[in-house]
Amino acid sequence: MYIDPHVHCVSRTTDDYEAIAAAGVVAVIEPAFWLGQPRTNSGSFKDYFSMLVGFERFRAAQFGVRHYCCIGLNSKEANKPELAEEVLDLMPLYLAKEGVVAVGEIGFDDQSAAEEDALRKQIEMAQEVDLPIMIHTPHRDKKRGTTRTMDVLEDHGFPPEKVVIDHNNEETVREVLDRGYWAAFTIYPHTKMGSARMCAVVEQYGSERIIIDSAADWGVSDPLAVPKTARLMKERGISDAAITATTYENALAAYGQSGQMSADDWLNPLPIDQRTLFEGNSVLRGGQEPRIEKITKPDVVE
């Protein structure tokens, strides 16, 4: 059983849902982010947020995958002040909804003043509604941007145990863990963090507060990154306990603090949820053993 706590499902196909379900992913978390094409008005955000709490949850459920989301204004689009203001005004309408497990993904891109302003306002929102935060760390000038993000969080007195700092690498992980945060790693094919480097991180730092995700989106990415990395960890002799912690338990513990996500959701779904929302039952398929099934499709359309 795996949780992939960072996937942009709206950009993925039904083939991906079939594949991750077959590989044992029982739940995904979809943070609100940039869509590639910049949005020009707040109505686009409203419909996007509605999609995350609405249709995408349903679509995932059809494949037996439980879908949760984070609501937030991403750092790139925080740079248009008027738009940002309107989006921040919309957010309270969504933060209290079922299945919203954090404010996110928020943080820095260019590390501009406008980005810092939106980050601070959203930290305050998370405090107000008592939700965890998912942090996107910048891809450029990452080390300093990560430090600065934690400084801002601490400035607001936000508890580090309720924050997942994502997109870590070997340069950032030590400080993030030392300061008490959850450290998530996004497995990107070809560049940045790959499965082998991830194994080395777990070998060096252990499994406490370390989380693995795919961040699969509209770019080159791999929605099977979590089960594939789990399989590699197993091959390299990393303990089952460490594999389970980094690919399932830690994500559940971190985002479960929202009160909106619990193992019962997929292990013992309420009848009312089964009827209206969650039709599949994907559990008990994988156990702890990584098992990536090859999806064989007939070569004619039936």
């Binding site: 949850r57 349903f58 209206t276």
Partner: protein, 206 residues
């Protein structure tokens, strides 16, 4: 159409804390506080739980859905435009179970003529549970849909593999146009070498 008393059906399911929360929230909403309505709507499952209502007058309802609708029923109706705007905002931002609650509640809500348009919009969904909240065990379509809307609903139920038996008024609302469409659909299935659903055969045989 008599409207059963939802607050009375809900009351036995509420703990003292939940009842106190709902009372307080209801009072704010009744004073016209739109924000209290939106917030209460979202928070309902956390406050009252998600147990089944188990009440034959509200088939398939859960406690949180009932609480949500009790709040909506408390919102002032003197200003029709304001009420409908609030309803639209709830629908626009609704997650799946909220949508289901909003559509199941149609027979309990004011301004049915205006809500008929919104119900027809709701039927355009791809989410089966939302479609069935309108189409199944719900007397609203029978009383407030014209033939064109009614016929599309019945045909779509068959088309998406939902059942038609729970549609309230299925026999009473049968009409010539619908019969033509149903025969056409059965022919189309046979021509494609696909089976004709048992529900449809029953319906065609009257």
């Amino acid at each position: 159409m008599t409207v059963p008393d939802l607050p009375a059906a809900l009351a036995p399911h509420l703990s003292a804390d939940a009842a106190a929360w709902l009372d307080a929230q209801q009072e704010k909403v009744a004073a016209g506080d739109e924000r209290a309505l939106f917030l209460g709507f979202g928070l309902a499952p956390r406050k009252v739980g998600k147990a089944e209502l188990n009440d034959a007058r509200f088939p398939g309802w859960s406690v949180d859905q009932a609480a949500r609708i009790v709040l909506l029923q408390a919102f002032p109706t003197e200003d029709e435009h304001r009420w409908l705007t609030a309803y639209d905002k709830l629908v626009d931002a609704a997650e799946v179970r909220e949508q289901i609650a909003l559509y199941r509640a149609l027979p309990l809500l004011p301004f049915p003529h205006e809500l008929a348009d919104r119900a027809a919009d709701g039927l355009r969904t791809n989410v089966k549970g939302v479609f069935e909240a309108i189409a199944h065990d719900n007397p609203f379509p029978q009383h407030h849909f014209n033939d064109a809307r009614w016929n599309q609903m019945v045909l779509k139920a068959l088309f998406i593999g939902s059942s038609v038996q729970p549609i309230v008024g299925l026999r009473e609302r049968m009409n010539r146009d619908l019969a033509v469409m149903l025969h056409g659909y059965a022919d189309e299935r046979r021509a494609a070498g696909r089976d004709v659903p048992a529900d449809l055969i029953d319906l065609l045989n009257g």
